[in-house]
């Protein structure tokens, strides 16, 4: 059982060092993640921010060893004091859903369509805590109330297709929280939701995170979502973290030219009539591992030395890090 492993309070909840993920097939190798270092403290919310293909979701799945067999995962991954890479299937079965849980973008594919919501939550509780069916059912009701599903008692008997999108997302959160995980991994959980429902789910996640003291890694492509929920932000590009910073200074002034371009390209109020700044070109294909700054071909500030090697992570003060030879500082 996971409870057997006790950690000192100061130890980080997640520690990843030089994480690499390659997808190898007969035709090609894709270098999806190319050396990611991550730290997450207990009770902290980190947003992994990036565009499609940046490696953010792959990084998240690697933390839970959820990647398919053809993925070659390298580096060190410690979650809640345990070495994820070394776990066998039995250890993983305890670990997933116990210490760490994941929520996804599409609840309809994450929930089982042939079991009621109540049964799916109770099953997780019974599996991990070994309690009776009645106790597990009672806990399921508590959880539905926790995620603020109206008339929770009645919804226990509902099947996923009977719920609206927002309620389904809440039900999936309830399943994930069933065994009080210390780490919640969230893969774009609000992207498919409507605006008025997205803000409800974001506020709910923030409230639950504070109340339960969970660590959360939240993958998103939406800067606005990061602004609402993150304590810290890590921006990914071509499989590397190119900038990491507390959310307030980051949103005020990103330092990496890519992060700056991303903020400039995000349409928000007050931009009407102005020309949007864009990032020319497209991200690299990742069929070969980038051995230089991967953003240099699209970067307005790039010079020859940017192509001499992968820029080292530079500490910039205030807990900020940037992988760039010419970070933008005001």
């Amino acid at each position: 059982m996971s409870a057997a492993v006790r950690m000192e309070p100061s130890a980080p909840l997640v520690r990843a060092r030089n994480l690499t993920v390659r997808f190898v097939s007969r035709d090609a190798t894709v270098h999806a993640v190319n050396g990611v270092d991550l730290d997450l403290a207990q009770g902290e919310v980190l947003c992994l921010l990036g565009e499609s293909g940046s490696g953010k979701s792959v990084t998240l799945r690697a933390l839970m060893k959820l990647l398919p067999r053809q993925a070659r995962v390298g580096g060190e991954i410690m979650v809640a004091g345990r070495d994820v890479q070394a776990m066998d299937e039995r250890a993983l079965a305890d670990f997933r859903g116990g210490d760490v849980a994941m929520i996804f973008q599409e609840p309809m594919t994450a929930l089982d369509p042939v079991f009621t919501i109540g049964r799916q939550i109770a099953e997780a509780v019974q599996r991990h805590e070994g309690v009776s069916r009645a106790a597990a059912d009672a806990r399921a009701l508590e959880l539905l109330e926790l995620v603020q599903i109206p008339s929770a008692k009645r919804r226990l008997a509902a099947y996923p297709h009977e719920l609206s999108g927002g309620l389904r997302q809440r039900a999936m959160i309830a399943v994930a929280l069933a065994c009080k995980p210390r780490l919640l991994l969230a893969d774009e959980p609000t992207t498919a939701l409507d605006a008025t429902v997205q803000i409800q789910v974001l506020l709910l996640l923030r409230e639950l995170q504070e109340r339960l003291g969970m660590g959360v890694i939240f993958v998103t492509h939406d800067l606005g979502v990061a602004g609402e929920i993150a304590d810290r932000v890590a921006v990914m590009y071509a499989g590397r973290v190119v900038e990491e910073a507390p959310v307030v200074p980051f949103m005020a002034a990103p330092m990496h030219p890519y992060a700056q371009g991303l903020l400039g390209a995000t349409v928000h109020a007050g931009m009407r009539g102005k020309r949007l700044t864009t990032i020319p070109g497209a991200p690299p294909s990742l069929e070969t591992e980038p051995v230089t700054c991967a953003f240099a071909p699209r970067c307005a500030l790039a010079q020859e030395d940017c192509l001499a090697g992968v820029p080292e992570a530079r500490a910039m003060g205030e807990g900020r890090m940037v992988r760039c030879l010419r970070p933008v500082t005001k």
Partner: protein, 350 residues
């Protein structure tokens, strides 16, 4: 050259390019043993709108509000159950003798761009063939259609020499959406209906495509109907905005009016639901609770009343008519309508 040119303006500048009244589309739900009709989805339930010449009308709303069905109705990809459509003074689909415009001519002047850039391209045609297809159908000689395709590729920022012979699967999402835009322009349309054209794109690519749409509108003298769930994008690109809720128009008006002085409680909530982009000013309370109701069985009276913070008895009894606030700004809310019986009647029009 016999290249198709843009149809001339007929009704003059004051005549809206497209005027729609009482548009209705209900989809039957069939079930039971003999596939009887058991219910209807009231996807679009009496929509009035006007698109003025040279403007961009933004249509916003949440999923299920009928905005995509409206787009398909405007394009006449599906037949409306009721309602009239007048294109530059001529009834769409009406007989020519009585001043109608036949559907074939209408569809040449109105083109559409869809959200899914891959599904809307034929995977077996090269880019050049895709763009030249419609002009050829409309009688343009093959070599001229090809030339035109190359011009359009250049206009959407793709080098013809590099892209003309490629197939859709060889392109990125942003490039494919540029091809869809080029194809939509191949017949020199006057109105382009853009149904979530940037929603599937990454932010940096989204900005490129939005800039392109602004440029093309100017260059080719286009009018846009821009449908999106993204309020920030709609604010950026639109001149006027129409807010839809459950198959009805909740509010319509100039973009500054809607964003600075929204009158309908739904528009207010929708705007307040946007993430703030400022982590030091985070929201603490969601502006609305619950999800939008099912359009199969919408609430009586005002459809927003089940989630509305200021709903009263009158809202359940009567459907609110559009209340005129300022020039061109209308909201369908009892609280905005003087003498409606709502305790705030007329005072909401701040």
């Amino acid at each position: 050259m016999t290249v198709i040119s843009q149809a001339p303006d007929r009704g003059g500048p004051a005549q809206p390019l497209l005027e729609v009244k009482g548009l209705v589309k209900h989809f039957p739900i069939r079930g039971g043993l003999f596939g009887r009709q058991v219910a209807v989805v009231r996807a679009v339930d009496g929509v009035d709108l006007a698109i003025r010449k040279g403007e961009t009308l933004g249509i916003v709303g949440e999923s299920g509000c009928g905005k995509s069905t409206t787009a398909r109705l405007l394009m006449r990809l599906i037949e409306p159950d009721a309602g009239t459509m007048v294109f530059d003074g001529e009834t769409v689909g009406g007989p020519e003798e009585t001043g109608g415009v036949p559907l074939r001519d209408y569809r040449r002047q109105v083109q559409m761009v869809f959200q899914d850039s891959y599904a809307s391209l034929n995977p077996r045609l090269t880019i050049e063939e895709t763009i030249a297809f419609a002009p050829k159908v409309h009688g343009v000689p093959a070599h001229e259609a090809r030339e035109r395709a190359h011009e359009l590729l250049a206009a959407v920022g793709l080098a013809p020499g590099q892209f003309a012979q490629r197939y859709p699967h060889e392109l990125s999402g942003g490039q494919r959406q540029r091809i869809n835009i080029a194809r939509a322009l191949a017949l020199q349309p006057r109105l382009v209906i853009l149904d979530e054209p940037v929603s599937a794109l990454d932010k940096s690519v989204e900005a490129q495509v939005l800039n392109l749409l602004v440029d093309l509108k100017e260059k080719f003298g286009l009018t846009y109907a821009f449908i999106s769930h993204d309020l920030n994008v709609v604010q950026y690109i639109s001149d006027r905005v129409l807010v839809m809720y459950l198959g009805k128009v909740a509010e319509t008006g100039p973009v500054e009016e809607i964003y600075e002085r929204p009158a309908h409680p739904y528009s207010r909530a929708l705007l307040a639901s946007r993430p703030s982009m400022d982590p030091s000013q985070r929201r603490t309370e969601p502006p609305l609770t619950g999800d939008p109701p099912n359009p199969v069985n919408p609430p009586s009276g005002c459809r927003f009343r089940t989630r509305c913070p200021i709903a009263e008895g009158v809202c359940a009894e009567r459907e609110p008519p559009a209340a005129h606030l300022t020039a061109g700004h209308e909201a369908s809310c009892h609280a905005a309508l003087p003498g409606s019986g709502h305790s705030l009647a007329g005072r909401l029009a701040a």
